[in-house]
Symmetry: C2
Subunit: 363 residues, 2 copies
């Protein structure tokens, strides 16, 4: 998408034809800076330190990391060591292993320069696949926005989102925000209410930044506000991403998503989840019992990171010695999800709904 | 309650017999400091800047503010202007108007020094009334905790609270936390999950501080977490305060309360609201349409205050120029409230329930 009029992706091949450019997301929204990855190790550190984050983007970055590794040593041994090293960066990210497996299969029968160029080609191919899947989600989801817009004359369609499921989490377009960009670019007036998304504030830091950079009207609110806004008719629809979708349509997403889904149901506001095929776990039915919820460090809760006089700092918000718990995700049951927006179209959040779009997975 | 072994209230008459001492709550939990109010204007600023906050405490502070105003000009004109000025400081809390009305009635037929001393006497009387009302809420509410404790053997009763409805929000004891202190002091094991309560973080700053100071086990969580915790059976009951309760039992409280009430209902967790008589607006039925919701400055959302190397600082969490909206309260409809804990006992959140405890208000 655009950053003040210039088109960017989150990851790209540099003009030298082999090194990899990324946006350093750890500095956002305080500083826009790009970084250049020239080795396996630099790529691993970029993933570990969350210079790149978001499951789709992590997968593509790892694929490029493997290409960089092969460029310096294209042997089988080096390839397997690189895969091990990359897999260890974010051990829970399924997408990462999936992307590495795709590259490995594409290059395993090749050697030398052929292997290297095939690895780069596959990494680029995965990036393009991600862009086109997100673009399709954008087209399908935009129809939902247009339906609302039809009844609002020239008033903007009011969309609430949680966390960052925007283009910064993918290669381009995003998942939940793809329909928003699509509608905005088509001249349909939209306005996004952005949950700040404590504890890591991805809404305040990343979603606000990318929407503002592209010129989409948006307003930051605290995570507590959405219920009241829905009571008052200030939200036409909710649109969020998913880290994992079960085959019956339960959705694991950033902590707090479930609360917004409850408020949407209580106020008759549609609650849509943008779910790329890669987020669907076809092996799992019940998300409430079947998805383990990651617990992260208490410092993410007791501290907040921001800028003060141009410097990025962490401030303590709790008394010294305060205990904190940090549940990273919650599960929104399918009954609260109005529909899933997949890259193959909109469908009910149910087994039947998902099978209608992905018949190859029907039992 | 005690702070490091010394008993404090949140507000008191200073030894000079006319100026008013308060705890400056804007500095907590980073610094414990008191302030001295010597005029109407200082009192209004203390309320507006939330050096004092919490509906019951605001009411008592406003009463003292009116006494301070009369001390400098005891005319009817000055009195009405002071009431107007004080009423405008915080539009949502009903206690403020109620307290001012009580003082006005106590002094309207008096003049000069008699009027001034009667105003001080009434302000002190309101403070004592608040302490005893909170103590009664503590006794009644503790019974609800004991009921749960009976089924938990020696496991702590898990209580979720939002914002600060502790002794810092009142003159002493608190409303929602009074039953917690009562149970804890009686040796019944309790543990409190404390919502941080963005944007002003009263949970992280005030509730954690006062519970830790009293030795009550407590854990800070982000506002997003409560739904997940209720899904996972980690919460036995919710207990929150109220800024305004309508006669049918709708409850206006800190933004985000409604979301927790929805999660409690969805998971069969009791949702109790500690409602002192002073919080009840007998003139109002429908809280959804009838209660004005205060909107505060966007800086409270785009900035977070905390300490860094011993210094209290505000850090910016959003991109420069980010728009933010800041709704301070929401309304939880009576249907989501399991019961009200009033100073006259526990009752259903309904007209019949409230009239059973306050028959003098029955039509």
């Amino acid at each position: 998408m655009d950053i003040n009029g210039t088109h960017y992706r989150t990851i790209w091949l540099e003009d030298d034809g082999w090194s990899v450019g990324i946006i350093d997301q750890t500095l956002l929204p305080h500083e826009f800076s790009t970084a250049r990855l020239t080795s396996l190790e630099e790529t691993c550190v970029a993933i570990e330190t969350m210079q790149v984050r978001g499951a789709p983007l992590i997968g593509v970055t790892a694929a490029y990391g493997l290409a960089l590794a092969l460029r310096s040593d294209s042997s089988d041994d080096a390839m397997f060591q690189a895969i091990q090293r990359l897999t260890a960066t974010r051990p829970t990210a399924v997408n990462l292993q999936w992307a590495l497996e795709r590259v490995r299969k594409a290059v395993e029968k090749l050697t030398g320069a052929d292997r290297i160029s095939a690895a780069y080609a596959k990494a680029s191919g995965l990036a393009e696949e991600d862009v086109s899947a997100c673009a399709r989600i954008g087209r399908h989801g935009a129809e939902l926005i247009y339906e609302v817009a039809g009844g609002k004359k020239d008033q903007p369609v009011q969309i609430l989102t949680h966390c960052n499921a925007g283009w910064l989490a993918t290669v381009d377009w995003g998942t939940a925000l793809a329909p928003v960009y699509r509608a905005h670019d088509a001249g349909v007036p939209v306005h996004v209410w952005v949950d700040e998304t404590r504890p890591r504030n991805q809404g305040a830091a990343l979603t606000m930044w990318e929407l503002m950079a592209h010129g989409v009207p948006c307003t930051l609110v605290v995570d507590n506000a959405g219920g009241h806004m829905m009571q008052k008719g200030l939200v036409d629809l909710c649109l969020v991403g998913t880290d994992r979708t079960t085959r019956r349509g339960d959705v694991a997403n950033k902590i707090g998503t479930y609360l917004k889904a409850l408020a949407a149901r209580d106020n008759g506001v549609p609650f849509y989840v943008a779910a790329p095929a890669s987020s669907i776990d076809w092996s799992l039915d019940d998300g409430m019992s079947g998805i383990e919820i990651e617990q992260r460090s208490s410092e993410e809760v007791t501290q907040v990171i921001g800028r003060n006089n141009g410097e990025v700092q962490a401030v303590e918000i709790a008394p010294p010695g305060a205990k904190a718990a940090n549940f990273a995700f919650d599960v929104t049951p399918a009954r609260l999800v109005t529909a899933l927006v997949t890259d193959r179209g909109v469908c009910p959040a149910s087994r039947e709904g998902l099978f209608s779009r992905f018949p190859e997975h029907a039992a």
